[in-house]
């Protein structure tokens, strides 16, 4: 036969009853329920057994250098778990290092852009061009001036 109590009620009453935390009325009501519910009877029996086991058990004393050994072991595991590059540089240096490596790869792999070869013009030729342009400008200014109204 299934218990009429839901799981939450069952747990609350079970723990309260076995620890003697229930008020008298609730405890009497729960006891009446236990007489008619073998499932709850079984649970109470198991919980009482568990409680008495915990009461009987005493924790063994730790060894005198337990803390020192424990922390030494934790440190050793942390060092072993850290990759060599992280132990060496730390993560903050990793970003610029990765960026530099990427740039180096790009620089080595990329083909140089074809640049137009511009033939140099010797200085004396540049001077000739300057002179010619100056002459053209002066001659053009005269030929553009309105001659009809001049004199």
């Amino acid at each position: 036969m299934n218990c009429v109590l839901n799981q939450e009620e069952q747990e609350e009453l079970l723990l309260g009853y076995t620890c003697a935390h229930l008020d008298a009325d609730t405890a009497r009501t729960y006891e009446r329920h236990l007489k008619s519910c073998p499932q709850c009877q079984k649970l109470v029996e198991l919980q009482l057994m568990l409680n008495s086991t915990f009461e009987d058990w005493t924790a063994p004393d730790p060894s005198p250098n337990f803390d020192a050994k424990l922390f030494a072991q934790i440190r050793a595991e942390q060092v072993n778990a850290t990759p060599w590059w992280q132990a060496l540089f730390g993560w903050k240096l990793l970003v610029p290092a990765a960026l530099a490596a990427t740039l180096l790869i790009v620089f080595l792999v990329r083909k140089p852009e074809p640049t137009a070869v511009v033939e140099a013009i010797p200085t004396e030729q540049i001077e000739k061009v300057e002179q010619a342009l100056e002459d053209f400008e002066a001659l053009h200014a005269i030929s553009e001036a309105p001659a009809k109204e001049a004199l």
Binding site: I121, L139, A147
Partner: protein, 159 residues
């Protein structure tokens, strides 16, 4: 004497063409290429050159051809006369704008005249009244130093 003159004129034409082709070469370059070629020049000089190239580009082809012929004739002159002509032209370009325009217009007008007519006009009262002594000198120097003006289309002058 005539073959020598012909040779000199051919050299002048070749120089004018060389200068023009160099201008075109600079003209065809991208700004960065031009800057690379002209990199050794001081900035102000390079900017002046670029400004003059831009001005040259604005001139129509017929006027350009006429200027090339005038330049060839200028180059044909003795170096001292070329220098004197250029000095005069620079002095003119240093005048205030309104006077510069008036002086250039007078030179343009006089270069189209015969030598006799030039003489009459530069001796006229109107010329003396219109220009200062310095300006009159610049006008007469330019007219005497510069080669004769060229027609825009040489075929027109042949008729």
């Amino acid at each position: 004497m005539k073959p020598l003159l012909l040779i000199l004129f051919s050299i002048s034409i070749a120089n004018a063409q060389e200068a023009a082709s160099l201008i075109e070469r600079l003209n065809d370059m991208t700004p960065s290429e031009r800057q690379r070629v002209l990199n050794c020049m001081p900035r102000a000089r390079r900017e002046m050159l670029e400004r003059r190239i831009n001005n040259w580009n604005k001139i129509d082809p017929a006027a350009k051809e006429k200027l090339r012929r005038e330049f060839a004739l200028l180059q044909q002159l003795p170096p001292e006369r070329q220098d004197a002509a250029r000095r005069t032209l620079r002095q003119i370009s240093d005048l205030p704008e309104d006077r510069r325009k008036a002086v250039r217009a007078a030179i343009h007008h006089l270069r189209q005249q015969t030598a006799e007519m030039q003489q009459r006009k530069t001796s006229s009262r109107a010329f003396r009244e219109r220009f200062s002594e310095e300006e009159r000198k610049l006008v007469t120097d330019a007219v005497s130093l510069l080669p004769p003006a060229q027609a825009e289309d040489p075929k027109e002058t042949a008729h």
